[in-house]
């Protein structure tokens, strides 16, 4: 079956437009989902880093507790007492976490390590590298404030005042250590804290001091042995436990201090998540590297698969729906075509027997005696009826061709009066049988360029309608007229006429004026429709002319003649 481009276009619109919209939405959702996936992945990794940081934070708190509760004395009577010095030196020797011990008097002066000749080289070195701190020239960091009370998780410990509680800070939050005022000393810090940390940078990196306030108001503290601290941290950190990826603990210079996980990051690979270590080690960082497989496995979420499946399901549903519509449409078109083809086929099949009827009737007509009027009359009826059937078949075929856009006009030079005369000759017996007086007034003796068969069919349809619907008027008048630019044929009768309300509708296919006019009258209702279309194809028009009495149709043809035809 011939499929028109318009049908294909509609089919494509029904299927492709919704699919395109669904695909766009799907892609958008998938992109958003991927974005969310990335964030979630990052959050997962950062969560792992927070866990690690929590471990470090607990260790720091343990160390604080040890220093505060066990290691450092709570009272110092004399900050310059040699016994104190001995105790402090013994403390340094016996505790791996202590690199050096220091004491500040109430005035903030450093009394230990002493600035004397009996100070050890380490003690002298300590004084030298911490001098700026004691003189208030170092930039000290206060412990970070928490973002809100809800975020603060109190680390439980004995005799811990709320004001000195260490808070677990969420990595990446705004609660980073803040700079103390330039010139502040440790003594100033000790005025409102019981203990604290001091981190500062010197030579090879970050150094840590832990201090506490004594009952007398002095300050005693230790420089933490960095290696020992790191060892204790590493001891707490997992050596394994990661299925994939790698976590790296780096110092302030970015040097890895400890790492674990099966994955080996490539050169230049960026960490998927990073987090600062808790205070006072906030210059250190925890980095989490993710392997490509880990990233892919996480980001290739089921939603994408669901979206693809959903898209495919939608496409299948739309295609199925479009196919069903198309099949139904094609079936109806096929049925209609079959009906039209059937009618066409039947019409073709009727032509041969119809020819036989006419030929044999005409042959018999020639063989009858001339005075056999009755016989001749009966044969004339047979011949006229076969001609009527012929016109009907021609109309049906023309209608069928028109529906298939195959109706065409074959123009040549014709005499309209001859065509009209031929049609009236055909109808003469039928008109006489109905006592219809026929008047033909020719007035178009100049040939014109038109389709003789089409004009004949038009006039035949009009005269046939007079015979069918206006016989009671007993009158048919056909006149032709020519002007400079057109040739017209008028067919009028004195029948009941066509009501004004029906107007142009009578030219519609299958339209019947549904009143007494047509009751009991046979006909297909396509004659005027065909006649109008043939008129159009012949370069003219067929119209219903207002008439005081009966019905009047006028066929108007453009009077066009080529130069060659004029000469002929």
């Amino acid at each position: 079956m011939f499929v028109r481009p318009r049908q294909i276009a509609i089919f494509l619109c029904i299927v492709l437009v919704p699919l395109a919209i669904a695909a766009w939405l799907g892609l958008k959702v998938a992109r958003d989902e991927q974005q969310v996936g990335r964030h979630q992945f990052q959050s997962l990794l950062e969560g792992r880093l927070r866990d690690v940081d929590s471990t470090i934070a607990r260790l720091i708190q343990d160390i604080e507790r040890q220093f505060v509760d066990q290691i450092l004395p709570t009272t110092i009577d004399d900050t310059r007492a040699p016994a104190l010095f001995d105790e402090l030196r013994r403390l340094r020797r016996t505790n791996l976490m202590v690199r050096e011990v220091f004491v500040l008097d109430k005035e903030g002066g450093l009394t230990f390590p002493p600035n004397s000749a009996d100070a050890s080289p380490d003690e002298r070195s300590f004084r030298q590298r911490t001098d700026a701190i004691w003189r208030g020239r170092a930039v000290l960091y206060e412990p970070p404030a928490t973002a809100s009370g809800d975020e603060r998780t109190q680390v439980q410990g004995p005799e811990r005042s709320p004001s000195t509680s260490m808070a677990l800070i969420r990595p990446g939050s705004e609660a980073t250590p803040t700079l103390a005022e330039q010139g502040d000393t440790v003594l100033a810090l000790a005025e409102h804290r019981l203990y604290g940390w001091i981190s500062w940078y010197w030579a090879e990196g970050m150094h840590l001091l832990f201090w506490r306030r004594t009952d007398e108001g002095h300050v005693i503290g230790v420089e933490v042995e960095r290696i020992a601290l790191l060892a204790r941290i590493i001891a707490k950190l997992p050596a394994a436990g990661l299925d994939d990826g790698r976590v790296v603990l780096i110092d302030s210079r970015g040097h890895p201090m400890h790492q674990w996980g099966p994955y080996e990051p490539t050169d230049g690979q960026t960490a998927a998540a990073r987090s600062p270590v808790t205070y006072p080690l906030h210059a250190w960082r925890l980095l989490h590297y993710a392997s490509p497989a880990q990233t892919k496995a996480f980001l290739a979420s089921s939603l994408r698969l669901n979206l693809i499946l959903g898209f495919v399901a939608l496409a299948v549903a739309l295609l199925a729906m479009a196919f069903m519509f198309y099949r139904d449409y094609a079936r109806r078109m096929r049925d209609a075509a079959q009906r039209v083809n059937f009618v066409t086929q039947v019409s073709h099949e009727l032509k041969t027997p119809l020819t036989n009827i006419r030929l044999y009737a005409e042959l018999l007509d020639t063989e009858l005696d001339e005075d056999d009027e009755r016989g001749h009359k009966r044969l004339s009826v047979i011949i006229a009826e076969s001609q009527r059937l012929t016109r009907l078949i021609n109309n049906i075929l023309a209608f069928s061709r028109n529906r298939k856009n195959r109706l065409e006009a074959n123009k040549s030079l014709i005499h309209i009066d001859d065509v009209v005369a031929s049609v009236l000759e055909q109808f003469a017996p039928a008109l006489a049988a109905r006592d219809i007086e026929t008047v033909f007034t020719p007035g178009a003796d100049t040939p014109i360029h038109s389709d003789a068969d089409a004009v004949g069919q038009i006039v035949a349809n009009l005269v046939s309608n007079v015979e069918k619907y206006a016989a009671d008027g007993k009158y048919l008048r056909v006149s032709t007229h020519q002007s400079a630019h057109s040739t017209s044929v008028r067919v009028s009768d004195r029948g009941p006429g066509i009501p004004v309300t029906h107007g142009d509708k009578v030219f519609r296919p299958f339209y019947r004026v549904s009143d007494k006019l047509t009751d009991g009258v046979t006909g297909t209702g396509i004659g005027l429709s065909i006649a109008r279309e043939l008129a159009r194809l012949s370069g003219g028009r067929l119209s219903l002319v207002p008439s005081e009495r009966g019905t009047c149709f006028e066929l108007t043809l453009d009077r066009t003649i080529t130069n060659d035809e004029e000469r002929a």
């Binding site: 020819t355 006419r358 030929l359 042959l363 063989e367 011949i383 074959n410």
Partner: protein, 229 residues
């Protein structure tokens, strides 16, 4: 003149044979395309009437094969296929005319006469029939026409021409029915007397000013007819 009629529908085939024989043509009939080709070869007709939708070989193919042997023999298609493309195809294959069914006797006869005129016109000079005068009319055999002195052109069938030729040849003499049958119907296809009388009656209507008082063709009772001049 011999005409080959190829039509698979028997009533139509017989009707066309009847019409052509009335016109004075000798006919050869074929029921299908294959028989049509065989008859064309053996009978060598002067022109061919072909139906298109025939069994064995269709009319288009018959025409193609005829044209391969003889480009001059006129071919007329008779068909119910009425699409423009059908007509164009038929004419492109070399047919001289395309008559659409249903057609009436007059139309068919008119088309056949037109073909016959072309056939006659194609004959060498020595084989052409000379015009002759019968009273107030000039009979032009190769045009199947007569021209009256007042200029009226009268269409004649082949048999009409033959009858007039015989009557003119035996001008002033009574021509017997048997002679007319032999000369104008030919062979052993003798019609009955009534057929001759009807034909003469129809001929008079064409050529006589007053058919009821004929001047050109007189009836000789018991014998036949005569042309007095």
């Amino acid at each position: 003149m011999k005409v080959l009629i190829a039509e698979d529908d028997r009533p139509m085939r017989e009707a066309i044979v009847d019409i052509l024989e009335r016109e004075g043509y000798a006919t050869v009939a074929a029921r299908d395309g294959r028989e049509a080709l065989e008859r064309f070869t053996t009978e060598k007709p002067d022109f061919v009437c072909l139906d298109i939708m025939m069994p064995q070989v269709n009319g288009y193919d018959v025409c193609r094969q005829i044209r391969a042997h003889d480009t001059n023999v006129p071919v007329v298609f008779l068909s119910a296929k009425s699409e423009e493309i059908d007509k164009v195809l038929g004419l492109e294959l070399g047919a001289d005319d395309y008559i659409m069914k249903p057609f009436g006797m007059k139309e068919f006869v008119a088309r056949v006469r037109a073909i016959s005129r072309r056939c006659f016109a194609q004959r060498p000079e020595r084989e052409r029939n000379q015009s002759f005068v019968m009273g107030a009319i000039e009979v032009i055999p190769d045009e199947l026409r007569a021209r009256r002195q007042d200029g009226l052109i009268i269409e004649l069938s082949l048999r009409d021409v033959r009858i007039l030729q015989v009557l003119c040849r035996y001008k002033g003499q009574a021509v017997s029915r048997d002679l007319l049958f032999r000369e104008c119907w030919g062979g052993d296809r003798y019609p009955n007397s009534r057929t001759l009388d009807q034909h003469i009656s129809q001929l008079r209507k064409k050529i006589e000013r007053d058919p009821k008082t004929p001047k050109l063709i007189s009836t000789v009772r018991g014998v036949g007819y005569r042309f007095d001049g």
